[in-house]
């Protein structure tokens, strides 16, 4: 029967013994440390990629489908196809809205970047967005002051606008402030809560900084070509009460609608953030599998090194084992002593590996620009796997020590 106090006493003896053989112990712990460095850096890079992906998907909206105009693909690439299809239009939006039939919200917009906006003594360059009233709630934009756009603003072509949070501050605008953009004037009816940028990296979608946007009713937006053709730059479909798994199917339906209305000209791009999430998960799983295999192999090699050192220690300490047995150590206590040896050796390697792994991950973040994040589970897993390696690879030497005949062991010098 082993008591915690017995194991504690064995751990103290084991630690003292390891310190006596500092160089040998350090070298064998180094193998474990390298394995843990691989494990910790892999987990922190993986965690960083996961959080960045989740942040991006969350920014795009997990339950949305985004459609944006794009240069024509397939057989029409590089060919003027405006006689076949002018691109995304309000008519497309209306067809999709009809297909949705209340199962979700559809918003559409047209945009113009780097537009000069002036208010009394202030001016700023901003993205001017002409949007349908439904686009703002579909993008989960919330008013910090005033209101969002209303359907009636579009219907009655009111000269009103909603400002992004930062733009409002830059222009020192408040509700009712008249703004000039291009040759038009609009009155501020709302200022948005900070929302940040639409994180579109790697999705093919165009970025949009909501905080530096001026949003006007689509029907009043100052885009000559857009106004004439009733063309839009993008649409956003947000479904209600649907599981995200159904979104790729919805996207297929939208594609079918657009294929028909665009006469097979693929001059649009449909992005399902949920599908991106799955793709990112697959890529990440592959990355983690490869890195996990490398870390596992490193730990295996380190563990074999530790077992080798432990077997040497048992051989060198045969007399000591005999002595301990003579004064009353049971075989269980000898196993405990040598398991403590290998566990401490590996745990020490694991702690060093953890610190080096954190440093390696931070270096990757600094010099390679990869997102890195540390989770408590990931940080605990390094030393825990080192400890487990110690217990697994220490078992054989410990059992070998315990199997010694005390009388014969005492005769060893």
């Amino acid at each position: 029967m082993l008591y915690p106090a017995d194991v504690y006493a064995d751990a103290r003896d084991a630690w003292s013994s390891l310190r006596r053989r500092a160089v040998r112990s350090s070298l064998s712990a180094l193998g474990i440390a390298i394995g843990v460095v691989a494990l910790v850096s892999m987990l922190s890079i993986g965690e960083g990629a996961k959080r960045a992906t989740l942040q991006r998907i969350s920014s795009l909206g997990i339950e949305t489908v985004r459609i944006e105009s794009a240069p024509p693909l397939n057989a029409f690439a590089g060919v003027d196809v405006t006689n076949l299809s002018v691109g995304l239009t309000v008519a497309d939006a209306q067809r999709i809205a009809a297909w949705l039939a209340g199962r979700g919200t559809l918003g559409y917009f047209a945009r113009n970047d780097e537009q000069l906006v002036t208010a009394a003594n202030h001016r700023a360059l901003a993205t001017v967005v002409g949007a349908s009233a439904d686009w703002l709630p579909a993008e989960t934009l919330r008013a910090a002051a005033g209101r969002l756009l209303l359907p009636s603003d579009n219907l009655q072509q009111r000269r009103v606008c909603v400002l992004g949070a930062r733009l409002g501050i830059t222009l020192a605008a408040s509700i009712g402030t008249p703004l000039h953009t291009g040759n038009q004037i609009c009155k501020v009816v709302g200022i948005l809560r900070p929302r940040g940028r639409l994180l579109t990296e790697g999705t093919g979608l165009s970025a949009l900084d909501f905080d530096n946007a001026l949003i006007t009713p689509f029907t009043t937006s100052p885009f000559p070509s857009g106004a004439r053709q009733r063309g839009v730059h993008g649409m956003l479909v947000r479904l209600r009460n649907n599981s995200p798994a159904s979104l790729p199917g919805v996207a297929e339906n939208l594609k079918a609608i657009l294929r028909e209305t665009h006469r097979d000209v693929t001059n649009y791009r449909i992005v399902v953030p949920y599908a991106l999430l799955n793709e990112a998960r697959d890529t990440q799983a592959l990355f983690q599998l490869v890195m996990g295999a490398i870390a596992g192999l490193s730990l295996l090699v380190g563990g074999i090194g530790v077992m080798n050192v432990m077997l040497s220690n048992v051989t060198e300490q045969t007399h000591e084992i005999g002595l301990r047995m003579a004064v009353g150590a049971t075989r269980a206590r000898i196993v405990s002593l040598y398991m403590c040896h290998s566990a401490l050796l590996c745990f020490a390697g694991g702690v060093v590996g953890l610190m080096l792994g954190i440093a390696a991950a931070l270096l990757v973040q600094t010099y390679a620009g990869w997102a890195v994040a540390f989770s408590l589970l990931g940080l605990c897993l390094g030393p825990a796997s080192a400890l487990l390696t110690g217990l697994v690879f220490g078992l054989h030497p410990a059992l070998r020590a315990a199997a010694l005949n005390p009388a014969l062991a005492l005769r060893e010098s």
Partner: protein, 224 residues
């Protein structure tokens, strides 16, 4: 009888041959005795000590301690018996080099007997004082002479107040003065009521014995 061995013999297998380490031997020892085992090298003195102390198991025969057969003890029970009832002094005073003198004395308490740290500490210091090494309590073994080391081993053997002391050539590596001190201590313990069984070649050691057994004369082979 405190401890007795009946028809003990021990054989080892080596390179397919059976080698007799101890011919069939019987003996019985009571408390208060200091028994010296003598005999030429290879006569089985150390083997007999190992069998009596439960460090080894006989190929035949039986060891009884207070009428309990050691053969029926499992490894853990034999370890517990060695821890609480037996003390060991070896020819080479082996101590753990990474422990201080007082920690070495207290080593058997890690495996049983008294558990209270303060009691262990007091008893270990008391024993070091008894063997004249109180001022070396916090020293490490490498800082002590051979005679001093053997006295530390003696103190360690007494920490759990054993009933039997097994000494295997305890003066083998000591000069005459240190040998005398160790032998006096052993005799003192026998007088105090412990059973002391000592294997020795040392003629001086035999003078301290209350009974002497020459293993060659004492041992006898049972008829085959």
């Amino acid at each position: 009888m405190l401890i007795q061995g009946d028809n003990l013999h021990r054989e080892f297998e080596f390179a397919g041959k059976s080698i007799t380490a101890l011919a069939t031997t019987s003996l019985a020892v009571t408390a208060g005795e200091l028994l010296t085992l003598t005999g030429p090298s290879g006569s089985g003195k150390s083997t007999l000590l190992n069998l009596l102390s439960g460090l080894d198991r006989p190929s035949g025969g039986e060891v009884r301690f207070e009428d309990q057969p050691l053969n029926s003890f499992n490894d853990a029970q034999a370890a517990a018996l060695r821890n609480r009832a037996f003390g060991f002094i070896f020819q080479t005073p082996h101590l753990l080099p990474y422990k201080t003198v007082v920690e070495n004395v207290a080593l058997p308490c890690s495996y049983g007997g008294i558990r209270d740290a303060q009691t262990i500490d007091e008893r270990a210091h008391g024993l070091l004082e008894y063997v004249g090494l109180a001022e070396y309590a916090t020293h490490y073994p490498r800082m002590l002479s051979a005679g001093e080391l053997q006295r530390v081993v003696f103190a360690r053997a007494l920490i759990n107040r054993p009933r039997v002391l097994f000494a295997d050539e305890p003066t083998g590596s000591l000069d005459a003065e240190n040998a005398h001190r160790v032998l006096s201590l052993l005799r003192q313990e026998a007088v105090a009521g412990k059973c002391v069984i000592m294997a020795t070649h040392d003629a001086e050691a035999m003078r301290f014995a209350t009974r002497r057994l020459n293993l060659d004369k004492f041992s006898h082979a049972l008829p085959g």
